[in-house]
């Protein structure tokens, strides 16, 4: 497993703390609430053909995601949304939503603090 690298690119979002051990370009954006699982990385890059595979690979790199993201029946929890780019996958093909190079997945949990 590769290490946490901080890429020093000064354009776009390349300067975010990014975990990257091979250069396939589906980015998973990890919310602050789950970054203790990624040792602080805000973005994890994975190589995956659909959302389900992407989340599997995320869980392989950083165990613990599965329990946080899925319920007992293996479905995404009701208080966690996954967006492919800016679209909620629940309104598309769900976990089977295909991914292409340079797609951007966001894990968006409900937060309630105030």
């Amino acid at each position: 497993m590769g290490g946490l690298t901080r890429r020093r690119e000064f354009k776009g979002q390349g300067a975010l703390p990014t975990y990257n051990d091979h250069h396939m370009a589906v980015k998973i954006r990890v919310p602050g609430a789950l970054r203790q699982l990624t040792r602080g990385a805000a973005i994890v890059e994975v190589d995956a053909g659909d959302v389900s595979q992407a989340l599997d690979e995320l869980n392989q790199k950083f165990p613990g995601f599965k329990e946080r993201l899925y319920d007992d029946k293996g479905e995404l929890r009701q208080f966690i949304n996954i967006y492919r780019n800016d679209e909620d996958i629940r309104f598309g093909s769900g976990l089977k939503t295909p991914l292409k190079d340079s797609d951007d997945l966001s894990i968006v949990p409900a937060v309630a603090g105030g």
Partner: protein
Amino acid sequence: MASYRELLKSVKSRIREVDVRQLDTSRNGSAKPVVIDVREQDEVEQGIIPGAIHIPRGYLESRVEQYVPDYDTPVVAYCAGGNRSAFAAETLQQMGYKDVTSLKGGFGAWKDAGLKFVVPRDLTPAQQKRYSRHVLIPEVGKEGQLKLLDSKVLIIGAGGLGSPAAYYLAAAGVGTIGILDSDVVDESNLQRQILHNSKRIGQPKVDSAKQTLEDLNPDVKVIPYQTRLTRDNIIEIFKDYDLIVDGSDNFPTRYLVNDASVLLKKTVVHGSIFRFDGQVSVFQPFVGPCYRCVFPEPPPPELAPSCDEAGTLGILPGIIGLFEANEAVKMLLGIGEALVGRLLMIDALTDEFRTLRLKRDPNCPVCGEGAHFKDFVDYEVSTAIPTPA
């Protein structure tokens, strides 16, 4: 010692009164008096003698010189029935105004005599000054400012989000601000809850909020609710407000707020935070999605630590609360593109701002097609409320 009646009688013996006909005549004469309405804002909203200046009795001493700098100017004070204005007239005499009278029978007698009155639609000179930077913006202007002054916003929570939201909405001149919180001020709140201060530790947060907001802007009527929202009180509390700003700190309240707002068709400006992450959206029932369309169910308590448990960067609720205030003002004025159907995500650690699209869920249990509450529904955290008959 004197009773009210005795006091009133003695005050009336020391001042002069005019009747409505005399006032009407003098208003059209050469030595026009300045007419001061000393009633409260909610009375004035029903109508005012044309040309009168509104200075509530409680602010008379502190404000009258701004309006009437010359002590020789004839002044007529009036209230609803002629008693408060008698006291006002005596005060004005004591301040040095030489020609002061009180209107006998007050605004009631004026109306009964069939004399003309207007429902005020202008900013007072003080308001013109206070809101001059708003009035200068074409998107707001005088009309917009009057709209804000007429608006009623309920803020859920006088905490991290509610503090900055309420502070700026009060500064902006939102005329009625309800603020709801059951807690008292604790030292650990002061790292982010800027409505309160070190001297107010132990005081109810809503009282502290009211004091801060009314000190900032006396135009604002602050209505404190020192309670928690429940299925039993939420409809009654929500029904009089134009807009709800959700700055609560727990999921059960947020879902309760959502469900009630859909029932009452009230728009909710939503803000929430976790450590360095903030979310903002506007849930406008049946126009955009509701909170349940986005997150159908709350997490179980073990997966939903509060700020008290998880901690939060004190500045983040400031940022998010101000986004909520901004959305609220846009919704009240009907300007710009509010975050209806969009979720703004802010990461305070990376300075990333992203906007995700939110959709209405046709299967949403509260705002979906054909969805309606007929009875209590027991959700995991029991937040559902009944449909009023």
